[in-house]
């Protein structure tokens, strides 16, 4: 088992390494560089050249990547070319926003999915179940960015209940903070709850057929108690794995939501850095995103293994 985990980890480190190298080359290949950003619109070619030399951008890509790796090995992710801010600081200051967005969106998704899934399983085939199933299918077909616009239109522009955009840190108060996260999280949650609900529903239906449920029924326990106490827990394993997968996929994907709602998260940091060719920030962000993705997938894989040890002996597959 230890060997299996080690091998898996080594492979994941390899993946992260490959991603960072790929990013470096790719970003270096982009036309124009940060010198054009730094110099602004009123620069002369000579000044741009000077900036490029000063930042070491005239060096070979591989040399620069080597430098980056060397300093990374010493725990230094460099500084933003643009604002001179240490990359790690930039990421640490944005990370809470992205994490809060991800967590809240999944919390909302679960708040929708669990009662709906439990009830649909309990009354499988009923009108409510069918309506909810169709609704879910419809919602999963709404592009997230469209949903975000619809929510802004309804709750920010028409009803004026919630701010359209912006971000308030926790220091401004919990409510102020949450208020700014409601619409962005909902934009994600209203799509993401569907697979969760469907998974939970099918797992619950299976669980409800088990003997111990019949036992509980025979004992005369009320339905809600059977559902929540006895059936929910054994049915939630797949739910958790799917949750993990969704978060893993969202890490790089919260970008458009952060853009639409002007949330200062990792996604926006990344896209702004790409637009500015701020290589150091791009490298840092991609490293974080790749590590996050890989770690979550690793955890999910381990969960699978914990469930089904046969996977351990299966060959090179992943």
């Amino acid at each position: 088992m230890a060997k299996f985990v080690t091998l898996k980890l080594l492979r994941l480190i390899g993946v992260v390494f490959a991603v960072s190298a790929l990013t470096f080359v790719m970003v270096a290949m982009l036309p124009a560089d940060i010198a054009y950003d730094i110099a602004g619109q009123d620069a002369t070619p000579a000044q741009i050249e000077a900036i490029r030399a000063e930042l070491g951008l005239d060096q070979n890509v591989l040399v620069r990547y080597g430098h980056w790796l060397m300093s990374l090995a010493q725990g230094d992710m460099g500084r933003s070319f643009r604002s001179d801010e240490p990359v790690l600081d930039a990421i640490w200051s944005r990370l809470p926003v992205t994490i809060e967005l991800l967590v809240l969106s999944q919390v909302f998704a679960l708040l929708l999915a669990i009662p709906a899934g439990v009830y649909c399983a309990y009354r499988a085939g009923s009108r409510f179940d069918r309506v909810l199933g169709s609704t879910g299918f419809g919602m999963i077909s709404v592009p997230t960015f469209v949903l975000a616009i619809v929510l802004i239109y309804l709750f920010a522009l028409r009803l004026e209940w919630l701010p359209a955009t912006g971000y308030e840190p926790f220091s401004e108060g919990v409510w102020a903070n949450l208020r700014t996260f409601v619409l962005p999280s909902l934009s994600i949650a209203l799509v993401e709850w569907v697979p969760l609900m469907r998974t939970l529903r099918s797992d619950m239906i299976a669980t409800l057929k088990e003997d111990f449920i019949s036992m509980a029924k025979a004992k005369g326990l009320p339905a809600w108690r059977i559902l929540t106490r006895h059936a929910l827990r054994p049915s939630s394993f797949t739910l958790i794995t799917i949750l993990g997968l969704q978060i893993g996929g969202l890490i790089g994907g919260a970008l458009i939501i952060e853009t639409i709602f002007a949330l200062p998260g990792i996604g926006r940091l990344l896209i702004n850095a790409i637009y500015a060719r701020d290589y150091m920030i791009v490298q840092g962000c991609i490293l974080f995103i790749a590590v996050g993705y890989v770690v979550i997938n690793f955890v999910v894989d381990m969960l699978y293994v914990a469930l089904d040890p046969r996977i351990r002996t299966a060959g090179a597959g992943g």
């Binding site: 124009a32 009123d42 002369t44 070619p45 801010e85 600081d89 200051s93 200062p264 637009y275």
Partner: protein, 510 residues
């Protein structure tokens, strides 16, 4: 008229120390002390060290303006107003200037403000590592005369000199604490002599300043705290303003301006500036744009009136020259929209005209490109659109790898240096590749001319030459808009598009 006042003020007034101190304009109300406001900025900041951050954008200018002071300010009429300087005296026919400084000022970090601080700052500004130096070329150097006097040396008598010390939209005029600069902390922790002091900067999110209790001036600071928030999307910024999450924002999109105007809870501030928010560069080194007739035809095909309506919903004004309120040059031979003339000129040219325009991938960029394409199509010119990102656009313009591109002429106190950069055949910044001996002569003349009237005339002749030879097309002038919530008072006019909050106060303060 205002331009004249400006120039005569600089030239005639050997001593400027007695200039009126303009504060909250004609506001009858007495400013209240206390309270705080939130300002919506378009972009995150880069930093405050001129060498490191290099370019001061509009957002950063709004911030630096309350933290660091300049030697002079310019008022709404273009008059110089003393700030950290008490006087300016022209010497040796205008080839050097003696500036006297205030003696009672200290920086936020306790460093005294004196000649050393000014010399240290300007020495860096005039070093080759500062990018903005291109428009300061006639300045040779600065020396300390005594503890509170410095002398600037110039190549030649130079009209825009005083304006260069006063303009609020470049790094050069803002004096930082020499200690912060030498400690290398200025960039991310700016220290100045201004009414507000740096408190916190959370990149991508907000920048916070607090009142400077030891401010040297009489008027301000009135607020306890100002929070600048970075809200890149203009519409969402407006939504935040309307919901009261922010108190003031700058805007340039016609749609947002029109919707803000409809909101009774907001106060509008607008000021006519100069320059042009969008111009189109027609690269004179690339066929078919190297042919004068083609460029002229294009300027007739272009419809500024329509652009005003489509891009700005008539919140901007049409222009015939880049001087805005500084100068009145009349029509200046502007080639108005005239399809027949355009077709005639193209018929003279006799070949099919097709070329490419690069524009940004932003909604504004696409809009501009698509409108241009349509208008050109109507005179039989094929315009291929190539959206590129901002940096690529700059790269292609700077490396002369473009045929037509959007650009802008900045709003600055004196357009002379900028036009020299754009159109002089020997200028390193000549991105239009426009070359004409006549233009070169005019541009060189204006540089040396210090007489306001004569200079004004010359600048108008330059505008006429631009209109005749059509190296650029204008897409409107530059009227600056800002909207505030009604609680916010004490905002001066938006000269050069800058929201100046140094004297701002709120009605719900003490």
């Amino acid at each position: 008229m205002t331009a004249r006042q400006f120039f005569s003020g600089v030239l005639g007034g050997a001593v400027l120390g007695t200039f009126l101190l303009v504060c909250a304009g004609a506001n009858a109300e007495e400013p209240k002390r206390g309270g705080s406001i939130t300002v919506g900025l378009e972009t995150d900041l880069r930093g405050f060290d001129p060498i490191k951050a290099r370019v001061l954008g509009n957002s950063a200018a709004t911030v630096i303006n309350v933290i660091q002071d300049r030697l002079f300010d310019v008022d709404e009429e273009g008059n110089l107003v003393a700030m950290l300087a008490t006087g300016a005296e022209q010497e040796e026919g205008g080839t050097s200037w003696l500036i006297t400084l205030r003696t009672d000022v200290t920086f936020h970090d306790g460093t005294p403000f004196n000649a050393d601080a000014v010399v240290a700052h300007w020495t860096r500004i005039l070093s080759p590592s500062y990018v903005g130096g291109i428009f300061l070329q006639p300045m040779e150097g600065i020396e300390k005369v005594d503890e509170f006097t410095v002398r600037f040396h110039l190549d030649h008598a130079w009209g825009p000199f005083a304006g260069s010390l006063a303009t609020p939209i470049g790094f050069a005029p803002y004096i930082p604490s020499p200690r912060a600069v030498s400690d290398d902390t200025q960039n991310r922790h700016p220290v100045g002599t201004g009414p507000y002091m740096f408190k916190e900067w959370r990149s991508g999110d907000r920048f916070v300043v607090v009142a400077n209790p030891n401010y040297w001036g009489d008027d301000g600071p009135h607020l306890d705290e100002i929070t600048f928030r970075f809200l890149p999307d203009q519409q969402t910024r407006l939504a935040s303003l309307q919901s009261g999450d922010i108190d003031v924002m700058w805007m340039d999109r016609g749609t947002t301006i029109r919707s803000a105007q409809k909101d009774d809870s907001l106060d509008e501030h607008d000021t006519l500036g100069n320059g042009s928010l969008i111009i189109f560069l027609l690269n004179g080194s690339k066929p078919p744009l190297d042919d004068l007739r083609v460029r002229q035809a294009l300027s007739h095909a272009w419809d500024q009136t329509l652009a005003m309506k489509v891009f700005y919903r008539n919140t901007q004004t049409e222009i015939t020259h880049p001087y805005g309120s500084l100068l009145d040059c009349g029509e200046a031979g502007y080639r108005a929209h005239d399809i027949e003339k355009a077709k005639q000129l193209l018929a003279d040219y006799g070949q099919p005209v097709a070329f490419e325009m690069i524009h940004t991938t932003t909604p504004r960029g696409r809009e501009v490109g698509q409108l241009m394409q349509q208008l050109f199509k109507r005179v039989g010119v094929t315009l291929n659109l190539k959206p590129v990102d901002q940096l690529q656009l700059r790269q292609r313009v700077f490396t002369n790898n473009y045929e037509m591109s959007g650009w802008r002429i900045g709003d600055i106190p004196d357009q002379g240096p900028q036009l020299f950069g754009l159109f002089h055949s020997k200028s390193g910044y000549n991105i239009t590749k426009y070359r004409a001996a006549e233009m070169d002569a005019l541009l060189e003349q204006q540089r040396l001319l210090t007489d306001a009237e004569a200079r004004g005339e010359l600048l108008c002749r330059i505008a006429e030459t631009i209109n005749r030879d059509a190296p650029i097309l204008y897409a409107g002038g530059r009227r600056h808009y800002a909207f505030t919530r009604q609680r916010l008072k004490g905002l001066p006019a938006l000269a050069y598009g800058l929201i100046r909050l140094g004297h701002a106060w709120v009605t719900d303060g003490k």
